[in-house]
């Protein structure tokens, strides 16, 4: 599209039920591409050429594009006309006044936290604007862990470059790898066979299983409930040991490649895996019941960190965070490249979009994951390859539901090499939502609110 009609096109698409799903600049900053997606799984890419390094901003149409535009400005020098002020995001050189929102008033002051935190937590900086203990506003400054992974992948072969997305984040290594593999296969005209779809779906659900168990443990830790934390941490350990037994790696590293799968599980391996999943279901359901009846734990959860469905949609909330507010959307429901036939997203009965709903959402999704895995482990798994059945293209897109929400990967290629790679993970989409969720809450509740999202810094920073 041309610069003049770019905004109209985006506005029309958003009015027609398309959702903003990511925006990035080409390597030289000459093009800006916007990814739009529907809940059904349909995707489209709108490309606009920059004029003297500038394009009109769409942040007023899709506030979810805020971080994407700021990142494209910092890393690729694109100016977004109408995005005022265009605060630095990845660029840490700017003075405090440039990247924080001015908050003034009687007794208003700032509390700076991080980048190094008190526990075993990833590095990132939070600047709370507070009056007493009430949070008026939160400016989150991430990208302390920015390694330039996307830039470093440029010029690598498509096979090599998977390392840059899967090693971006241990918590989402499989999701990122599958999103990348789908993007490459989309560009190469390759289609998944049912066996390939099954192998990858097993790996994705194994990843979701340990993450969701870990996230419930983290929430218990967030309120200092050692019993709940310990029981779910022990379950997380068991899930990771299962990963190690099945693939040789506790985080399933190296299990995804472009164009096929090498995952091989014999009859004994799938039977043992099935039994362990069944046992994890029993034990996690028991531990969850104990949490439900723990009044002092439950008392901390409701009505804090609230993000309702409309605000969530505007800010681009995805995954458990969006579903906890009643938005029954899940990329798994529209994933023809994976084995999710008949999958229907769940939402909690009390979909209040608060900490309680987000924690309950994990418990509900765990049951789905146990179901999926028990079905997927019904027969041995063997090597599989994608089949060349579609048109080759210079750009491919992959979109996969990570434990934290929709993750999209775009690969622009020249022959068999990466020209531009963009990874937009569920964590990246949800970080601005965390900042919003903190507003008007008490400072001591922030760790709990943060843990109820349990986002990765690593795959947002890249």
């Amino acid at each position: 599209v041309n610069v003049e009609s770019y905004r109209e096109q985006i506005a029309a698409a958003l009015g027609d039920g398309w959702r903003f799903a990511g925006l990035h600049a080409s390597s030289d900053g000459s093009l800006v591409r916007t990814l739009l997606a529907r809940a059904t799984g349909a995707m489209r890419l709108e490309t606009v050429a920059t004029a003297e390094g500038a394009v009109p901003s769409i942040v007023d149409l899709a506030p979810a594009a805020g971080w994407d535009e700021r990142e494209a400005h910092d890393l690729h020098g694109v100016t977004f006309v109408g995005h005022e002020p265009l605060r630095p995001l990845v660029d840490h050189e700017a003075p405090l006044e440039r990247w924080t929102v001015p908050v003034r008033g009687h007794d208003a002051f700032q509390i700076a936290v991080g980048p190094i935190h008190a526990g075993v937590i990833e590095s990132g900086h939070f600047r709370f604007h507070v009056v007493g203990e009430r949070i008026l506003h939160l400016d989150a400054r991430l990208f302390y862990k920015h390694r330039g992974l996307e830039r470093a992948s440029e010029g690598r072969t498509l096979d090599e470059a998977i390392a840059f997305v899967s090693r971006a984040c241990a918590g989402c290594a499989v999701t990122n790898g599958v999103a990348y593999a789908h993007a490459c296969e989309d560009a190469l005209g390759l289609v998944s066979t049912p066996e390939l779809a099954r192998a990858r779906t097993i790996l994705l659900e194994l990843e979701r299983m340990w993450n969701h168990l870990n996230d419930i443990a983290a929430t218990c830790a967030g309120v200092g409930l050692a019993a709940g934390n310990n029981s779910f941490a022990a379950l997380t350990e068991r899930a990771r040991r299962l990963n190690g037994t099945l693939t040789g790696h506790r985080f399933l590293f190296g299990s995804i490649r472009v164009g096929g799968s090498d995952l091989t599980l014999g009859p004994d391996a799938v039977r043992a895996a099935r039994e362990e999943v069944a046992s994890l279901r029993v034990d996690s359901s028991r531990s969850w019941r104990e949490l439900l009846f723990n009044a002092s734990f439950q008392d901390r959860l409701p009505d804090i960190g609230v993000v309702g469905a409309p605000e969530g949609a505007r800010l681009g909330a995805v995954g458990p965070a969006a579903r906890a507010a009643g938005v029954a959307e899940d990329v798994r429901a529209g994933s023809p490249r994976l084995a999710y036939d008949g999958f229907a997203p769940v939402v909690p009965r009390r979909a209040a979009g608060d900490v309680q709903a987000r924690v309950e959402q994990r418990a509900l999704e765990l049951l789905q994951t146990f179901d999926l895995l028990e079905t997927l482990f019904d027969r041995p798994v063997g090597p599989a390859a994608a089949e060349p059945r579609a048109q080759e293209r210079p750009i491919g897109v992959g979109r996969v539901e990570s434990p934290r929400g929709a993750t999209s990967c775009i690969v622009e290629r020249r022959h068999d090499r990466v020209e531009r790679l963009r990874l937009r993970t569920g964590s990246y989409a949800n970080w601005p939502v965390v900042a919003y969720a903190a507003t008007d809450n008490l400072l001591p509740d922030f760790p709990l609110i943060n843990k109820s999202f349990e986002l990765c810094y690593a795959c947002a920073d890249r």
Binding site: H92, P115, I116, A118, G119, V120, I121, E122, S123, F143, Y144, K145, H146, R147, G148, L149, R151, A152, A163, F164, R167, A168, C169, A170, G171, A173, N214, N230, A233, A234, T236, E237, R240, R250, F251, F253, C456, Y457, A458
Partner: protein
């Protein structure tokens, strides 16, 4: 209560249970640009399967309270300063452990302008724990070696 404790001590002596070294180490973790894998494994070190505290190894909230700085990740240019500040804040004697392949400078991914190189180019390293990420077993073994001095590769 006192009788119970006395009985427990007697039982312990009679059963000849293994004893942890009568020492402890306070650890401070700094993520200097990891993939979060080392952090996930480190978190499980306090889970019931490992329960590292029983050996006298605990994570403390401030470098001021720490004997050992446990650093993970490829050292990013943006984390170099905070890492140095944490190191400077530690009281002497202090030790530095590089946790995971990234901190050791193996197979680093990223661009040269965003990474400053392996940990030992920034601060002196006393203990190296390889792995991507190191398993909780490997972390436990290395740290227990540090506590009794046998694994200190100075």
């Amino acid at each position: 209560m006192l009788t119970l404790l006395r009985d427990l001590r007697r039982l312990r002596r009679e059963l000849d249970l293994p004893h942890a070294p009568g020492r402890s180490l306070a650890l401070r973790h700094v993520d200097a640009g990891s993939c979060n894998g080392c952090e996930h494994e480190l978190t499980l070190m306090s889970s019931p399967y490992y329960d590292l505290q029983r050996f006298g190894l605990g994570i403390v909230a401030s470098p001021r309270h720490a004997d050992v700085l446990l650093v993970t990740g490829a050292i990013t240019s943006r984390m170099r300063e905070p890492l140095l500040v944490a190191y400077e804040a530690m009281p002497e004697p202090r030790r530095v452990a590089a946790l995971g392949d990234c901190a050791l400078g193996c197979n680093l991914l990223g661009t040269a302008d965003n990474l400053v190189g392996p940990l030992e180019t920034v601060i002196p390293v006393d203990l190296r724990i390889p792995g991507c990420p190191p398993t909780p077993d490997a972390i436990a073994e290395a740290l227990l070696g540090l506590i009794d001095g046998s694994r200190l590769n100075l």
